[in-house]
Symmetry: C2
Subunit: 255 residues, 2 copies
């Protein structure tokens, strides 16, 4: 299995604090030693760091956890390989362009019979069930709406209706973003927390690091963090239920 | 304008030495201060580092120039913006998936009337002439060969026939790779050098760094470096002529 980390924020925010926690799970406090990756959006652009090494040993991961890259949408992943060899082409997150936007995705879980998933023009480069499911979702989006985007919200609502079909194939905890919206889907384990004023202290579970968000933020900041397991041990995280999905836009949960 | 750097090698090789030179041109020894990027292939996988900051000031660029990431195909770019704002979405190199392979591209030059370039299903995310030309090339590839790849060599040969059309729109120095082949096209300025045994010393032009390749390589290594301007001042680089194109595969020039 793997672990997921996502962020949705209304102002460019760095994810150093949360990533420090996740990176420890990549081979030290967790068994997810088969590569890691993190994608940062800056407006419509995206930059993705990836490495097939364990994140807790990776020079690049160390830089990312120390370097305050400001972003409004982030998806990160530490991998414990099940389907597909350990290698860069099988390392999450995955990105494709559709309708002139970059779509970025990461998956935690394992699917059976995933080769039955119909593909359109988006083809996997690697050999994971995860990437195939991503290509399937984008292919269905294009099949449904053609060459013109129906608008991001309608597109994400369509995906929300589609993902239960993947749940029938196995465990499918997922994060998907276009840089504006971020969609979560939970079949076994996914937690989120929205931080807003008044901000307080937070303490990481995996490493002895704490932070006073009131010194890092402005009163108008809204920042949602999504993680497989809560990353802090002194805050109340929302535990998602099997089959539950939640859409976020710039940090705010969308009903 | 901008500067390009590419590498094609028959064994995974790091590009630290050449990148150290290029990175200085990103705002210090050169005016290309509007962002930089570098894509590394590992088999079919690719990892791209990008930053809208000047490379000579970028923490991430410093890491990349010190961190020996081994790759058989690399494309790097330092940008001096002409068309399109300074921002991540306009920062080269650009990548798209076609036929289950990642295609990565960077451009140096400026095109006029580039909006006339017909687009297929690949759409630009940013607003540069460069990305539009890339989407045009991939669209034409798919238009010509449909859903089945004709094989990488045939695909690159098709692109080689197509690029002179872009030259009619302005300056089009280009690097394009799928991780196996690397295609160069020159309309004004592009140089390359193939290093093989017996390896010797090389000295960078932009910063006081030299290297003894005989201590870094094995006798069977073949490594081609492509750059807008020669990066070393004690070696003989091949200067490409206007309209000249050269295809490389794992370091070897392909006739």
């Amino acid at each position: 299995m793997c672990e997921l980390l996502g962020m949705s924020a209304n102002v460019p925010t760095d994810i150093c604090f949360s990533f420090k926690g996740l990176k420890e799970r990549g081979g030290r406090t967790g068994p997810h030693k088969d590569g890691w990756g993190v994608a940062f959006y800056e407006k419509k652009g995206v930059c993705t760091f990836k490495d097939a090494l364990p994140s807790h040993q990776s020079e690049i991961a160390r830089l990312v956890s120390d370097c305050p890259i400001k972003s409004t949408a982030v998806i990160a992943h530490v991998r414990q390989a099940n389907r597909g060899r350990v290698g860069l082409e099988n390392t999450h997150p995955f990105t494709r362009e559709l309708w002139g936007r970059y779509w970025t995705y990461a998956h935690n879980g394992q699917l059976t019979d995933y080769k039955q998933l119909k593909l359109g023009r988006f083809l996997p480069v690697g050999t994971t069930d995860s990437e195939r499911a991503f290509c399937y979702l984008l292919g269905e989006l294009e099949q449904r709406f053609g060459q013109r985007s129906p608008g991001p919200k309608a597109a994400f609502r369509f995906i929300q209706k589609l993902v239960p079909k993947l749940q029938q194939l196995g465990v499918f905890n997922m994060l998907l973003t276009d840089g504006e919206y971020l969609l979560t889907y939970c079949t076994t384990k996914l937690h989120w927390i929205t931080r807003r004023a008044p901000f307080g202290m937070a303490r990481l579970s995996d490493v002895d690091v704490d932070i006073d968000f009131s010194r890092e933020t402005t009163p108008n900041d809204v920042v949602t963090i999504i993680a497989t397991e809560p990353l802090t041990n002194n805050e109340q995280w929302h535990r998602m239920l099997p089959g539950e999905s939640q859409l976020f836009r710039y940090g705010e949960p969308i009903v």
